[in-house]
């Protein structure tokens, strides 16, 4: 009994230590966001909050249309996430639960596209977007990623392991259409996988820099990472504004993670326990 309690204390101590280790960078960004620009890089580093928020906010909001950029990032990330989850789950369901001609080859082709580095596509991709007249719109940052290879792979693997054939058969016997099976059985059972895909997509879209830089040239229409890069200067000291902008940009990520943490953990542990 005593041994069990001791082990538990050690476990909590180790977990607590790791939690602090992972939480510290977030805390540190918020601390730096409160120091004036000329004091951000001081050594030894600041561990507690300073009094430069007002000054930093003045720099941040006067140099870039931060609110617009924030809403652009939020809109692009939210729409990307919803559409990616929807289409990748559909594709994953098809690959996992249906038999059709050339299924194996098609799946291999989808997986093979993962091996192509993104920057190799950028020039032809840009030409396509110009031809579609999609420059300065959100579409290049949303549409091509809707049925991304990684999402399809993730959802296929998840569906294969988490949705028993028997449930689908029972659904069919009860008169569900194939789309009904997807909506009423596959989607609810795939929630943990969808949460994982959702958070990966949201964070990826939220942090996306190069695509936003190229496809959204207008400062009013661009996203947060591009807007924040405008503050990056060697002559001017915008460091305080940059840190404040970065700290504020972390808030949606933290909210998304906290809101979906239950599903994310369920998704990560799915398949770990044999039922």
């Amino acid at each position: 009994m005593r041994g069990t309690r001791f082990a538990r204390i050690i476990t909590y101590l180790v977990l607590g230590l790791f939690s602090l280790l992972f939480a510290f960078p977030f805390y540190y960004v918020f601390v730096l966001a409160t120091w004036p620009g000329d004091r951000v890089l001081e050594f030894p580093p600041h561990m507690f909050f300073g009094n430069g928020v007002q000054e930093n906010a003045q720099i941040l909001f006067s140099r870039v249309p931060y609110l617009k950029n924030f809403l652009n990032s939020l809109g692009i990330a939210a729409i990307s996430t919803v559409l990616t989850i929807f289409f990748c789950t559909m594709a994953g369901f098809a690959f996992a639960k249906y038999k059709f001609k050339f299924k194996k080859q098609l799946y291999q082709f989808v997986i093979a596209t993962l091996a192509i580095p993104g920057f190799l596509n950028i020039v032809p991709f840009y030409k396509m977007m110009v031809a579609f007249k999609w420059i300065n719109t959100w579409l290049p940052l949303i549409v091509p990623g809707m049925a991304g290879a990684f999402g399809i792979f993730l959802m296929t693997q998840f569906m294969e392991n988490s949705i028993p054939e028997e449930i689908l058969e029972a659904g069919r016997i009860d008169g569900l259409t194939e789309f009904g099976l997807l909506m009423k059985i596959a989607f609810p059972l795939a929630k943990p996988g969808m949460a994982i895909l959702g958070i990966i997509t949201f964070i990826g879209s939220w942090n996306s820099f190069t695509s936003a830089m190229i496809f959204l040239p207008s400062v009013e229409k661009t996203t947060l990472p591009v807007a924040l890069s405008m503050l990056n200067s060697r002559v001017d000291n915008n460091m305080g504004g940059l840190m404040l902008g970065t700290a504020l940009s972390l808030i949606p990520i933290i909210i998304v993670f906290v809101a979906f943490s239950k599903q994310i953990i369920a998704g990560l542990t799915a398949g770990a326990v044999k039922s």
């Binding site: 207008s218 002559v235 001017d236």
Partner: protein, 421 residues
Amino acid sequence: MKRLAVLLLALVCAGTLFAQQFDPNKKYVVTMGLYGDLERAYKKVFESPAFKAKFPNVTFKFQTADFNGHHNRLSTVIAAGEVPNDIEALEIRYVANFIEGGGLTDLGAPPFNGKQVGKDIVAFAMANATTTKGKLLAMPVDIAPAVLFYRKDLADAAGVNLDNLKSWDEYIEVGKKLMIDKNGDGKKDQFAITHPGDVALIPLNGGNGDWIKDGKILEPKERYIAVLELAKKIRQAGIDADLGAWTGPWVESFKNGTVATMPNGAWFGGSLKTWIAPDLKGKWRVAYLPGKMYAAQGGTYLSIPAKVPAERKAVAWEIIKYLTTNPEAQLITFKEIDAFPALTTVYNDKIMDEPEEYFGGQKVRKIYADVALHTPNSEVTEYDNVIVSIWNRAIGNVILGKQTPEEAYQQALKDIKATIQ
């Protein structure tokens, strides 16, 4: 029939020429792709009464990002053969990428005749934007003459003079005297320089060009070996603080006296003054590089992408001409962001003779101008950026003692040949 054809041809040519002309009465919105603080500086120029009087109908749209983001976007758009902004800024390190690859308008050719227009622009900067085939791809708007920034108070305390160092060897000897254990813990906590890498490019025209000259790579060999030896000697002498550039401790080292000198481009003086160490007013000074070496460490060029339509090229060229050859525009940019003028006629302006309070009343601009006028021309190729990264690796290996200068040189030579052939 022949006459009619000639007449038609003449009409077409006249029409094209007319379309390429700038019409001051027409409204234009010029788009500019910029990086860093350029937008702020150029906005000041465009708000000036002189500019407004000359271009009452021209307005601007800016696309600004950091160095890498800006140049990556530009490379992608140009590689895709699409139309970027009417005017695109290029940092000196990135000019080489476009030297032979195309994508930019030859501003040396008619109707621009940029070489004639830029006759008063400092020669080395014009050379850096000129291809081996003589095309002028961009106009230099600001430059960064390389000098030695140093802390006068620390030099005085150590009893050394950094103003007229005869050679880098003398710099190392003086540097040893600047090494001080300030808190008495038995360890040195004041150093001469942040890192030996700070001198990796400066003796080689600041890394701008001549890596391949007349088809020969890294020649003359002695010149390159000497730089590797210099980095090695600095590390062996222990006069560097081993600080990575633009990290917190690096920035702090200029403020708290950990480092007493810094060889860098003139723009660094602006950074010291405005945000790195504004409280040290009167304590920093500027000297020529050891051995009165002349080099540049940074600079901005303005280009017109080839795909920009002819009429927009005409107005873009008018704006570039104004920014690069109008003394008032050059001085506004200088005052606003400490970007040193590329236009040599400005060097005679009284502002160049003004003492700078931050540098203890020293007339530092005179030194910058002198360095600019004496910096040698160098030959730039499209491989320069790759070569610089290979060279930096060689320097790193020598500093860490992984290779001797000779081994590092041979390795760099081999890597460069493998990359470009």
